[in-house]
Amino acid sequence: MAFVQNLPFICILLSLFTGPLSSILSGKMTKKLNLVMITAVGIMSAMVLAFTVKSGEAYTYMMGHFPAPWGNEIRVGVLEALLATVFSVIMLLCIVGGSKEREEELESTKQNLYYIMANLLFCSLLALIYTNDIFTAYVFVEINTISACGLIMIRQNGRTIEASMRYMIMSLLGSGLLLLGICFLYDLTGHLLMSNIKEQVQILAATGEYQIPLLVCITLMTVGLAIKSALYPFHTWLPDAYGYSTMSSSAILSSLVSKGYIILLIKIYYRVIGIDVIRASKITNVLFVFGLVGMVMGSVNAIKENNIRRMIAYSSVAQIGYIYMGLGLGSEIGVIASVFHILSHAASKALLFVAASGITRASGKNKDFASLTGAGFRNRLAGIAFTIGSLSMVGFPTFAGFISKFWFAQAAFENANHTKTMLALIVLIISTVLNALYFMKTVIRIYTPAPALAKEKNYQNITVRGQAPKSFAMICFVAMNFMLGMCSDPIMKLIQSGLEMFG
């Protein structure tokens, strides 16, 4: 067995171990440690990606001395490695980009706690991506929830604490349902390991036993994960949480955490239940409908919003709607489009958050549009970055957003059901127009010159060097968006092959 195959496990253990280690170090040290750790994990994941692409097949890795159904194991394929790589890059950039805010908004004595939370969150994301055991997945979902809550409320004011209360309530409902679904599944199949569960489920589906419990536990797990990943009607905690927590937390949460749950859901569909059973169970239609509603309502709420951070938060509600719409189409290509959209949205939304914070810093940290006027001139790089992010969100060609929209449309066409096709296309266009409305409004606002305002409120200009980490993050994110938009083909191929070896 090649040494490279150990790397995923080493990644998980490393990120897990840096959590406790950070607890005794000082804030600065923990930051360094955290950055080093994430970089190392990114490099290792890239190596794993290269290895899996070369070998062209997924492999399983025993966690312990005991083979599959008895011990835990993790399973590594192209898709997992790809996601791990991209996630670590985005995590790194988010942490780098938000360092200044953290220094100002967090108490000096609680800096290191932030990084503990970040490390544990990252670890849980990796574990969710790699694990092949559904109960392990549950445990790490809980870690994910708790540490995400920590990231929200570490900047302490009424809004964030209330928001994290809402968040906890919602996600506890979700994880309760998820746990119950897992128990049902265990009861029906007698296994906790995904592949074995799939075999058993196939047998059950063939013999037609336990149909109702099977359906129920599919529903439970789907609803649970949908609640946790803030699908439309369950999004109430989201705007406050993203709007008032410190910037890097918002970026990480919106671009990674909710995606982690969605990936777990995809994993459950493909590896635990089997996609054909899912299709037969028609649960996808429910997701489809909720996704469509989310796509529209999220954008509508975003239009009504007067606080830029909350606006971006609402737009990510809409984007999650896109992803669920893709899943709901139920076709292979739909899922591919969703996975690609997970990547592209992660890139562009994190960019938007970083850029927005840059803009608000140039406007005396006010987030309302009135005081953002002309901020594009006060903080040039942030203005440009925000524009690019908005264009990517709006689906401007040569940026990531356009490609994912294009693939969603293709997926809609692949779908046999014509009403679904038309619905998907029409809602796609409508929500795109709404996106354009509020993003372009913001862009025009930040490029309306207002020297008078700036003078009267004495807003400082922020140079590129004056915010070096943020500039670095923004440039990297812009490059990422551009890359995803320009050469989407290889990534699409990766995702495709990854999904093939996923099930």
């Binding site: 040039r380 060609p397 293709q410 809609a412 038309m422 796609l428 266009i429 127009v433 354009a436 320009m486």
Partner: protein
């Protein structure tokens, strides 16, 4: 060889970007006095770039067909450019107008301020338009169409006043709506066409299309309406009268003479080069399109007739005139297409002239309402004569150019099998021609023949500087002369029509 196409696209964009960035840097040390001061290096840079790229554009478009593929945006969807007859026609018109208006704009913008930003965007938009005209497939076209919207918007909100911003938002939102309806169409066609590249006569895959006619027709209709936004077609025309008056005169001149033609070009490409005319002939789509365009023609003229503000009146007349073109395209007959293409050229020159005249009126004596212009001919006769020629051409009085194109439009309406709509169309065209006379000529009348004595008129300045008058005269002259000896152009347009039908 194909590399020549890139020059007129890249060069202006790069130069414009340079200008923008430098003006941007200037903005940072934002003391008003510094912003006001213009620097001498601007004019030579802009003119040099314009001339070089125009020359390159001519060279690229008139030395045989060529094509170039930049890179693949997605699997089998390249970003590629291609020269063909239509592209050559549009490129020529755009280049001439852009160059002349560029000359005109220098004195004008000197009192609007922010020249660097304005000319930066002016150049960028020129490059983008070149890309639009040369684009070789639908996705490239869409890309440059969006770019055109985004980059031409700052010219609208040049003086960042509140109504300017509102108008720009309106413009942006309408165009984006249209673009996304078109995008929907692109998604559909990508499924049912062999290729999104432009093939004369269309490349619809009949096997795939079997049984999906409805969705294809819906898609085509969506694209017609979507691209029709730029061309000011009926349901989504409202941005035009809002955006033109607030923009500075040179900007509104190019907006209504060139940018709107971008929509026309897109429609030509979609209908005749991707879908194919036969697909929509005789379907509800054609009739809907005809009816919409005719309604727009009539309504535009009516509104223009009632409009007191000069530039707004011209904007409404643009709405109606561009729909002449759309009508010509919609009848799907060679004569109709010929007329439409001719009208594209003529209307570009004419409407440019009219807007520049309006600009001169504002520039010299700050008069923007029609009723204030009484007796203007006494103090600036040359300008008013140019205006009058252009007006006559637009109305279509022989031998002026407008007559030719309208003649062909009418002929196209005759020999198309659209029954009553053909006749109705001709009636509407004549009616709207009368209205055109009704809303353009009074200015000439009042301008020259007024009861007031010369000393009663309160126009502080006389004729504008030569740099503004010259382009005006050239354009007016073009508008007339093309009507006097049109044979070359008619053959060219007829040839295009023959190839694409």
């Amino acid at each position: 060889m194909g590399i020549w196409i890139l020059l007129p696209i890249i060069l202006p964009i790069v130069t414009g970007m340079y200008l923008l960035i430098s003006s941007f840097l200037k903005h940072l040390k934002s003391t008003e006095s510094e912003l006001k001061t213009a620097d001498g290096s601007l004019k030579p840079v802009v003119l040099l770039t314009l001339i070089v790229s125009v020359a390159a554009a001519f060279y690229a478009s008139w030395t045989g067909d060529k094509s170039i593929t930049l890179f693949y945006l997605m699997k089998d969807i390249p970003i590629c450019f291609k020269v063909d007859a239509v592209a050559a026609l549009f490129v020529t018109v755009v280049s001439i107008v852009w160059l002349l208006v560029g000359f005109y704009a220098f004195p004008y913008m000197s009192h609007e301020g922010e020249e660097k930003r304005y000319f930066g965007f002016y150049l960028v938009v020129y490059g983008v338009l070149m890309g639009l005209n040369f684009s070789g497939n639908l996705v490239t076209l869409y890309l440059f169409y969006e770019l055109m919207t985004v980059t031409s918007m700052p010219m609208v909100l040049h003086n960042g006043s509140r109504e300017a911003i509102m108008a720009a938002l309106k413009y942006l939102f309408y165009s984006m709506c249209g673009a996304y309806m078109a995008l929907f169409g692109i998604f559909v066609l990508n499924k049912y066409c062999d290729t999104l590249a432009f093939v004369a006569g269309g490349s619809l895959n009949t096997v795939l299309a079997q049984g999906n006619e409805t969705i294809i027709l819906i898609a085509v209709m969506a694209m017609l309406i979507g691209f029709g936004v730029k061309a000011g077609m009926l349901p989504l025309h409202a941005w035009l009268p809002a955006a033109h008056p607030v923009a500075p005169a040179p900007a509104s001149a190019v907006l209504s003479s060139i940018i709107v033609k971008g929509g026309v070009l897109a429609i030509v490409r979609v209908v005749y080069y991707v879908v194919g005319a036969d697909v929509i002939r005789g379907t509800w789509v054609q009739y809907a399109w005809l009816i919409l365009s005719l309604l727009t023609v009539f309504m535009g003229s009516m509104l223009a007739y009632r409009e007191p503000v000069f530039k707004k009146r011209l904007a409404y007349s643009t709405v109606s005139q561009v729909s002449y073109i759309l009508f010509g395209l919609a009848v799907l007959t060679p004569a109709g297409i010929t007329g439409a293409l001719l009208h594209v050229v003529f209307h570009a020159f004419i409407k440019c002239t009219l807007f520049l005249t309006a600009g001169i009126f504002i520039f010299q004596c700050g008069k923007s309402r029609v009723d204030e212009l009484e007796g203007i001919g006494k103090c600036m006769p040359k300008t008013l004569w140019c205006y009058t020629f252009a007006a006559l051409a637009l109305i279509g009085i022989p031998p002026a150019s407008g007559f030719i194109s309208k003649w062909y439009l009418a002929q196209g309406a005759f020999d198309s099998q659209i029954g009553i709509l053909g006749w109705g169309g001709i009636v509407v065209l004549l009616l709207s021609a009368l209205l055109t006379a009704g809303y353009l000529l009074p200015i000439t009348m009042k301008g020259f023949f007024t009861e007031k004595k010369t000393e009663e008129l309160e126009f502080e300045k006389g004729e504008p500087p030569m740099a503004m008058l010259m382009p005006l005269m050239i354009l007016a002259f073009l508008a007339m002369i093309l009507g006097v000896l049109p044979s070359g152009m008619i053959d060219y347009a007829a040839q295009i029509a023959a190839t694409i039908l």
